[in-house]
Amino acid sequence: MAATYQIAVIGDWESVMGFRALGLDAYPVTSVEEARETVHRLAKSNCAVIYLTETLGKDMEDVLARYKDELTPAIILIPGREGAFGLGRDHIQKAIERAVGADIL
C-alpha cells in the first residue's frame, strides 16, 4: 500500500492548467469522447483520484457509474471555468437515495 498514486485533472485547457502548477497531472481535453478515453486509460494505470469538470461530467454519467463502486479511481466532479451546475451535489443526493431508498435530507 506504499505505492504512490497519480492525481489527474481532466477538463478544458483553461480549467486545468492551474492544477499543473501544483504538480498534478492535468489532461486538457476538447471533447467528451476524449475525456471518456482518458478516464478509462487513467483508471487502468495507478491513478487514485480524478478530478473531472462538471461540464464534461454531465455527458459522462455512464463512466461515472462504472467507477462509482470501485476503490480507485475516485472520480470527483469540480466546477469548470463555466461555473458549477450543482452536478456534484446531485451525485451526493443520488448516493443518499440509493442508500436510504428514499430522499430524506
Binding site: 483520484v49 476503490l71 451535489r89 440509493r98
Partner: protein
Amino acid sequence: MANITVTPTRMELTRLKGKLKTARRGHKLLKDKRDGLMKQFLETVREVRSLRTEVEEELMTVHKSFTVASALMSSEALEQALVYPKQSVELTMSSRNIMSVNVPVYHFQTKTKSDSDIYPYGFAATSGELDTAVDALGHVFQKMLKLAEIEKSAQLMAEEIEKTRRRVNALEYVVIPDTEETIRYITMKLDENDRATTTRLMKVKDMLLKEAIEDRREEDARAVKAFGASEEAHQEV
C-alpha cells in the same frame, strides 16, 4: 407460500428450527450493521456537502483569477509559465475499514516544503493575478483531496448500505416467514400423525376387546350348555 415439498419428519423440523435461529441472528446482526453504516454515512454526507460548497466557491474564485490572468497575459506566455511544474505531489493511499466497507485514506506529500515556493515561473514575465490564482489553488487543493476522500467513502458506503438493506429485507420478509410457515406445516403434520396413531391404537384396542368379549361369551355359552346337559343327566338319574 412456503416450500411444502419438504418431508414432514422430525429431522427436517430440527434442521429448519436451526435455520430459523440462524436467520433471526443474521437478521439482527445485519440490521445493526445497516443502522451503524447509516449513521456513519449520514455524518459523512453532511461533511461532503459543506466541504463541496466550500471547494466549489473557492475554485470559482481561482477560476476568476485565472481568467483575469489570461486576459492580462498572452495564452502562450501563460502556458509557458505553467508548463513545467516545480511542485510535485506524491499521493499514497491506505484504506480504512468502516463497518466492513473499505474506504480510501489519502496522504499526500509535496516535493517543495514551503508553501510560498510553489510558483513554477519567474515573476518578471507574469501577471500578479497568476500568483494569486496559483496560491489560492494550492490552498483549495488540500480541501479537494479531503473532498475526494470523503466523497468516495460516501459512494462506497452507499453501495454497501444498499446491499445490506436488501439482505435485511430478504431475511425479514422472505426467509424468516417462509421458514416459520414450513415449521408450522411440519408441526401440524406431525401432530396429525400423532392423532392418527392414537385413534388407530384406540380402534385396535376396541377390536381386541370386542374379540375378547366375544370369546368370553362363547365360553360362557358353552359352559351354560355343558351345565344344562349335566343337570339333565342328573335328573335322569
